[in-house]
Symmetry: C2
Amino acid sequence: MGTIGSYTYEQYCDRAREFHGSVAPGILIGGFMVEAARRKLPPGTLFDVICETVECLPDAVQLLTPCSVGNQWLRIIDVGRFAMTFYDKATGEGVRVHLDSRKLEKWPAIKEWFMKLEPKERQDRQRLLNEIREAGDRICTVDKLRVSLDFAATRHQKSVAVCPICNEAYRAEDGAVCPACKGKRLPYSVRPQPAPETRKTSQAR
Amino acid sequence: MGTIGSYTYEQYCDRAREFHGSVAPGILIGGFMVEAARRKLPPGTLFDVICETVECLPDAVQLLTPCSVGNQWLRIIDVGRFAMTFYDKATGEGVRVHLDSRKLEKWPAIKEWFMKLEPKERQDRQRLLNEIREAGDRICTVDKLRVSLDFAATRHQKSVAVCPICNEAYRAEDGAVCPACKGKRLPYSVRPQPAPETRKTSQAR
């Protein structure tokens, strides 16, 4: 019973397991959200997508649409809300779908999971999956919106510069040095590599 | 000739076309980068990935590894550098691979593409693809590094709050209102939906 895009529910679960690593509640609900959004767009609309969280939803979009992070038809603005926006690339007209906590009273297991009312190990997973399948997109709210054309326009990178500090290529429009060297924090430290001479010396010891 | 992960070169191109929408130069080079990184990790390492750009590379990672944006084993810190870091989840030890512009003198078509020396329509695509295939990962530099354990530790969302402004669920640790209502800009405006009363009135007119 029920399909998600061109998949049966079971096929979608298999694809989710393969791509996402597990049949997470969020990726199932995400599947229903993608289809709810799609149905509200005029057929044949060439759309792009915005996700408002990195959790699960981007994978539902990548599984069910041509939009991916790497082709930039899917963009993520992580404000931690369980929402996705589908919009016409040309006009910016679109819809935003979000999981609506006000609609969860009838679905106690989904509410418990979504609002993290119980630790994971105390949740009844089978009941949760059953509720998700039964609820479909009835737990979502869909709003019409318009995405700014500035954002919607595909912005191809115009020119490339080599950063004088790290010697790596970056978007020239970002300024005289790359964002990483300008101070955008990266969570790693590169280990000093022994210079070739040093290495020879230490081998000679 | 040549494989990328468990795929033949041709199979990888087919998978790229399917997932990314085209066999883009960046996704081919990304494939070689993923494999270069992987070979430097001890076999069996449970790794996570950081990409320093949203362009192409995240899709190469998602095609060739269990890491996806939605399962958060792949995280993106967009500083516009064509680089990816693979690291051991437990220890933070890893490697960073980047496309090194200093190694492109022997590969003029790759250099032209990467540094955007010519507009796309004046580039010789077939020559570019041939060079990419021939160069493999010889155009990359690999550095050892250590990712901070704070970042490496999977940080599960601890608790959820409902934002008093938008009425949507968000990460409680982000403060008293959600990041979107706190001012993190989203590029859309929601169209005012007529309230049920208004709608009735206007239908009655």
